[in-house]
C-alpha cells in the first residue's frame, strides 16, 4: 500500500487542475486514469473559448500543457490503469488497480467526466471505424460524394451534419423525436439543405455490413414497423453520459441522472473527504472553464482542511 495526501481519479481538465493546485501546495498527489491524460479535451479538434489563447488551440495541445504543468509540480500519474476497487468511507479511503497496486489517501477527488453515448446496438462495435463513425472532422473525408446516415438530432449531431454536408452526396438524419433538439439556427441550416432528409420518430435497431455498404434496421416508433436501408456510412451523435460506473459501487450520492451531488461551495460529496469536480458533478454547464473551476475549488478546500 502506498500513501498519498490526495488521490484524483480522472486526468481531464478538472483532475489536472486540482493536481496542479494541490502539488504546488506540496501535497503528495496521485492521478489515476484509465486512458491517457487530457480527458475530452484531447479529443477536441480546436478550443477557441479557453481564456488566454488568442488563436484557437488544438485540444490535444491544451491537454498536453495541463498534463506537463501537473508533472512539473510533482504530481504522480498512473495512466492507462484500470481501477479494480474503490473504497470510500469517512474514515478510510483507498483504491486498488487491476495490476494489484493499492493506494490510500485521506482525500479523494472524483473527476471522471463524461463520454459520448454509444447506442450499444448489434453490429455497432464491430463496424466502428469500418462504416460507423463518431467524428465528422476525422472520418468525413472517407465519405466524399457518398450517402450516409446521421443518428441524433441534438446540437452535436447538427453541427457535425453541417460539416458532413460539405462533403457527402446525401444525409438521412434518423431522430427519435418529432423535431430536432438542436438550437434552431443550426437545425435550420441543416433542414434547409436539399441534401438532407429526415426520419423523425425513428430509431436504429441493428447495423450490418453488406458489401461496402452498411445496412441499418430502423424502427418507426409510432407504427413499430421495421425497415432496412443501406447507406455508405453511419455517423452517430447521441449525446454524452456520466462516467459513473466506478462510483456506483461506492456510497457517493448520485442524482437521478447519474451525476455526483456535491456542496457547490466546496465540491465535497456526501462522504467527508471525497470531492467531485468537472463534468461528473451535478451541473448545467459542461465546459473546460467550469471543470477547471471545480478542480480549483476542490483542491483549495482540501489544502485548507488537511
Amino acid at each position: 500500500m502506498t500513501n498519498y495526501d490526495l488521490i484524483i481519479i480522472g486526468a481531464g481538465p478538472a483532475g489536472l487542475t486540482a493536481a496542479i493546485y494541490a502539488s504546488r501546495a506540496k501535497l503528495r498527489v496521485l492521478v489515476i486514469d484509465k486512458s491517457t491524460a487530457g480527458g475530452q479535451v484531447k479529443t477536441t479538434h480546436q478550443v477557441a473559448n479557453f481564456p488566454g489563447f488568442v488563436e484557437p488551440i488544438p485540444g490535444y495541445k491544451l491537454a498536453q500543457n495541463m498534463y506537463k504543468q501537473a508533472q512539473l509540480y510533482g504530481t504522480e500519474f498512473k495512466l492507462i490503469s484500470n481501477i479494480k476497487e474503490l473504497y470510500l468511507t469517512p474514515k478510510e479511503k483507498w483504491v486498488t488497480l487491476t495490476s494489484g497496486e493499492k493506494f490510500e489517501a485521506p482525500f479523494f477527488i472524483l473527476a471522471t467526466g463524461r463520454s459520448p453515448r454509444l447506442l450499444n446496438l448489434p453490429g455497432e462495435k464491430e463496424l466502428a471505424g469500418n462504416g460507423i463513425s463518431y467524428c465528422a472532422t476525422c472520418d468525413g473525408d472517407f465519405y466524399k460524394g457518398k450517402d450516409i446516415f446521421v443518428i441524433g438530432g441534438g446540437n452535436s449531431a447538427m453541427e457535425e451534419s453541417l460539416l458532413l454536408l460539405q462533403l457527402v452526396n446525401s444525409i438521412t438524419v434518423i431522430h427519435q423525436f418529432d423535431e430536432l433538439q438542436a438550437e434552431k439556427i443550426t437545425a435550420e441550416k441543416v433542414t434547409s439543405n436539399p441534401k438532407a432528409t429526415f426520419m423523425y420518430s425513428h430509431e436504429p435497431r441493428k447495423f450490418e455490413a453488406v458489401g461496402d455498404k452498411i445496412a441499418v434496421e430502423i424502427e418507426n416508433l409510432k407504427t413499430h414497423e421495421h425497415v432496412t436501408l443501406e447507406r455508405d456510412g453511419v455517423f452517430i451523435f447521441v449525446g454524452m453520459i456520466p462516467n459513473n460506473e466506478l462510483i456506483k459501487g461506492t456510497d457517493v450520492k448520485l442524482n437521478k441522472y447519474g451525476y455526483i451531488s456535491i456542496n457547490e461551495q466546496t465540491m465535497e460529496t456526501n462522504i467527508p473527504g471525497v470531492y467531485a469536480a468537472g463534468d461528473i458533478r451535478d451541473k448545467f454547464q459542461w465546459q473546460i472553464t467550469t471543470a477547471v473551476s471545480d478542480g480549483t475549488i476542490a483542491a483549495l478546500n482540501i489544502i485548507k482542511h488537511r
Binding site: 491517457t36 485540444g59 495512466l79 484500470n82 469500418n130 467524428c135 472532422t137 472520418d139 465519405y143
Partner: protein
C-alpha cells in the same frame, strides 16, 4: 530523416486545419519539396515507404499508427507512447496518413474497408498480423499486443 515538426507549424504550407479540411494528397515530388511535416507525437516518425520496409525487415515486432492530429488519432498515439516503455521489444512508430508514401499503408488489403483514422498496423516478422481502424481503448490495444506479440 526530416526533423519532427508540428502540423500546426506547417499550416501555411500544407493547408492543414486540424483534420477538418484534409491535407491534400500531393504527388510525392511536390509534397517532398514542401518539407512535409511529421506528426506531433513522441513516437518515432516514419517518413518514407523504404524506411517502413527497412523497419519491418529488421525488427520482429513493429506497430505503426497512421493518422493525423485529429480527435480519434491523438488518444491512440498517447496509448502507444505510454506502452513504449513497457515493451522495449516492440518498435512503435507513427506515419502521417497524408504522406504520399503512406500509400504503403493506405493500400494494404487489410485496410480496404477501413473508414476511420488512425489505421493502426501491427507487423510481426515482416507480415501484417493485425490492423485496426479509428480510436481504440487502451485495454483493447494491450489485448492486441498480448495476442499478436506473445
Amino acid at each position: 530523416m526530416v526533423k519532427s515538426r508540428s502540423l500546426n507549424a506547417r499550416r501555411d504550407l500544407v493547408k492543414v486545419d486540424g483534420c477538418a479540411n484534409f491535407l491534400h494528397i500531393y504527388p510525392s515530388e511536390v509534397f517532398n519539396k514542401m518539407n512535409y511535416p511529421t506528426l506531433d507525437t513522441n513516437l518515432h516518425h516514419i517518413t518514407s515507404s523504404s524506411e517502413l520496409e527497412e523497419m519491418i525487415a529488421n525488427n520482429e515486432k513493429v506497430v505503426v499508427v497512421c493518422g493525423r492530429m485529429g480527435p480519434m488519432c491523438v488518444p491512440v498515439y498517447g496509448i502507444m507512447e505510454l506502452l513504449e516503455s513497457e515493451h522495449p521489444d516492440i518498435k512503435f512508430n507513427d506515419f502521417l496518413f497524408d504522406h504520399p508514401e503512406a500509400a504503403i499503408i493506405r493500400n494494404l488489403p487489410e485496410v480496404r474497408r477501413f473508414r476511420g483514422l488512425p489505421f493502426t498496423i501491427y507487423y510481426r516478422n515482416g507480415k501484417v498480423v493485425k490492423a485496426t481502424s479509428s480510436i481504440q481503448e487502451p485495454g483493447d490495444v494491450k489485448a492486441i499486443i498480448n495476442e499478436v506479440f506473445a
